[in-house]
Symmetry: none
Subunit: 195 residues, 4 copies
Amino acid sequence: MGVSCAKMMKDKILQQSIALFEKNGFSETSIQDIVNMLGVTKGTFYYYFTSKEQLLMQIHLQYIDNILEQQRRIIDHSDKSWKEKLFDVVYMLIHQIESHGASARIFFRELINVKGDFLNEILAKRDQFRFNFQYLIEQGIANGEFRDDLPADMMTFAVLGACNWSYMWFKPEGPVPDNEVACIFVEVFLNGMKK
Amino acid sequence: MGVSCAKMMKDKILQQSIALFEKNGFSETSIQDIVNMLGVTKGTFYYYFTSKEQLLMQIHLQYIDNILEQQRRIIDHSDKSWKEKLFDVVYMLIHQIESHGASARIFFRELINVKGDFLNEILAKRDQFRFNFQYLIEQGIANGEFRDDLPADMMTFAVLGACNWSYMWFKPEGPVPDNEVACIFVEVFLNGMKK
Amino acid sequence: MGVSCAKMMKDKILQQSIALFEKNGFSETSIQDIVNMLGVTKGTFYYYFTSKEQLLMQIHLQYIDNILEQQRRIIDHSDKSWKEKLFDVVYMLIHQIESHGASARIFFRELINVKGDFLNEILAKRDQFRFNFQYLIEQGIANGEFRDDLPADMMTFAVLGACNWSYMWFKPEGPVPDNEVACIFVEVFLNGMKK
Amino acid sequence: MGVSCAKMMKDKILQQSIALFEKNGFSETSIQDIVNMLGVTKGTFYYYFTSKEQLLMQIHLQYIDNILEQQRRIIDHSDKSWKEKLFDVVYMLIHQIESHGASARIFFRELINVKGDFLNEILAKRDQFRFNFQYLIEQGIANGEFRDDLPADMMTFAVLGACNWSYMWFKPEGPVPDNEVACIFVEVFLNGMKK
DNA sequence: AATGAATGAGATTTCATTCAT
DNA sequence: TATGAATGAAATCTCATTCAT
């Protein structure tokens, strides 16, 4: 068995937890539910995780760290315009929901169940993501690509809100693929819906 | 005592529940927590509500029925343009979050805890709200007020997402009041952020 | 059923717990064990007590408060000599073991399971009991009834140790009754075993 | 590695267990706690000990066998008076608490956690120790060194109780060293506290 | 209209122990 | 000689709910 086996079980628990948390909610999912699905015992769960909360924390961290890193790479890209970077971030967010929908829905829904220091860490990173987004828009304004008569923080809330909310309705098997959604959204954000 | 007293107690329970559900989450709030705050006993709770779920359902229903009704009135208004109606709905949504923030946050966060037939009823009404919104946009397109080169459902998701998401950040005591947020949002959605 | 019934159940739980804690030890006794004996459910236990620890605490407090109070009365008695008071306290301690043996054995054995603030409160009272005892001996010394060439604290430890230790062997159904034990002990401690 | 290393590990486990059992109590100490402190795994524990109970048993046995052996040597000493032997046993008991305090406190506190045949073996030896002590006193009585108007068993309980109880308060770093405590105790036991 | 007592099912977590390697 | 993975039983505690009064 060895190392790969250890990683395998821990990972299986993580995946199963994500699936169940998404389907039934964090609070409604018991450790028993999780281990039953895997045919192991509760002891096994606690061999790999110190608590149910820590597991949730890990899911949150994985998600936010991932999109933060991608966002950083996009913003730091030297050859692109700020409009192009806006598109890249929007697409990245929606693509994340298409490729990691279950984690996404946990990330957007189950924040309330993260407590204490864990919560502060997550909140700080979520804020960081928003600040980076706002920085992108501010740069576009300074650059003359975006309008300068609207507050950057409100524009940020509008765009981010539209993207994040898609965790509620976007389905990979739906009629419109992620990149098309991103195109339409960015078209609306940049040029508006008015004829 | 009589009828008015009964209504008062039922209402006090409802208000207290909303406050606690918002603060700690539905699953994390026990009936004991609620009645403790009011200085009554659990029996009293069950005299007025048949279950914890039914109470949550009531909160959801109250919220969705309210905004559905307001939406209907706005759309049915004969003298306004579709752009004006768009603004009115956006403003109504954000104003609802400013005036009923706790209920709003429960409405947007705790859908997962609504089960069975209750869930279907709520989902149907949420869909109805979205369809009405999409109808508004489709009318604006037909009317020539909105672009006809983008799918109405996607535009709906974008605008609704931005509005709904504000439950996550909008604070009545914040620097930007609800009507101003609505103005900025509508400006972005109608005319875009591009210079 | 009313008030008397409430008191009855709480008291039944307390008595049953004392019996089981004595027999099997605090840590080895589960809430399940306790309620099984009474034919009720765990919920009932937690209706009356907030935790297993709090219950243990209550047993400790009851014991120490009781003997502290009796000690106070004996020491404050105006018409008796310090030698007589010494006897009275010794007898009181042994009599307590004879009449409340189970509580006594929990009190002397299970201190390790009292934690946090509870522990500090209990320790303070146990110290108080010892200090009062030492005061009694110091008064007897000052008064010329006891020797002044031995430290009062060590004499206190000796007498108290002999008394307390009897929780290990004294049995009400044994051959020597509590008052006789007290007489012999005091005779040894006052006049010694030397011929 | 080899044999000496094995002995070392077994001994390290024993010492660490004694330290933790004393500090937190037997039931409150887990095997995990013990092996964590040593940086090894639970398997290692079970290589050297068959169960947690057996380990406790070993601690008890070691203690009682040790004092039984010393007691035997003292009593069998031909050139000393019974009064001197009384002192030697008292001193030995208190010295044991000063030099092996942790084991002593486990020995006096955790008897309840010894079960079955183990318990019978320990109880038999504890009784043996008391009988030997009583024999010492009876010899002193027969010899005319001790009073013959008090029952030997009760005198035994008094003296042993005072000595054993010192596990509760004696500290090696305290103001009175073990031999001085023994002197004072024996002085009280022999000549009494009366002026 | 409201209470207080009780239930029963289930939640999280702990832990001594086993065993293949 | 020691490890790492896993078990399974049990422990403490929670909580929505019921019901006689």
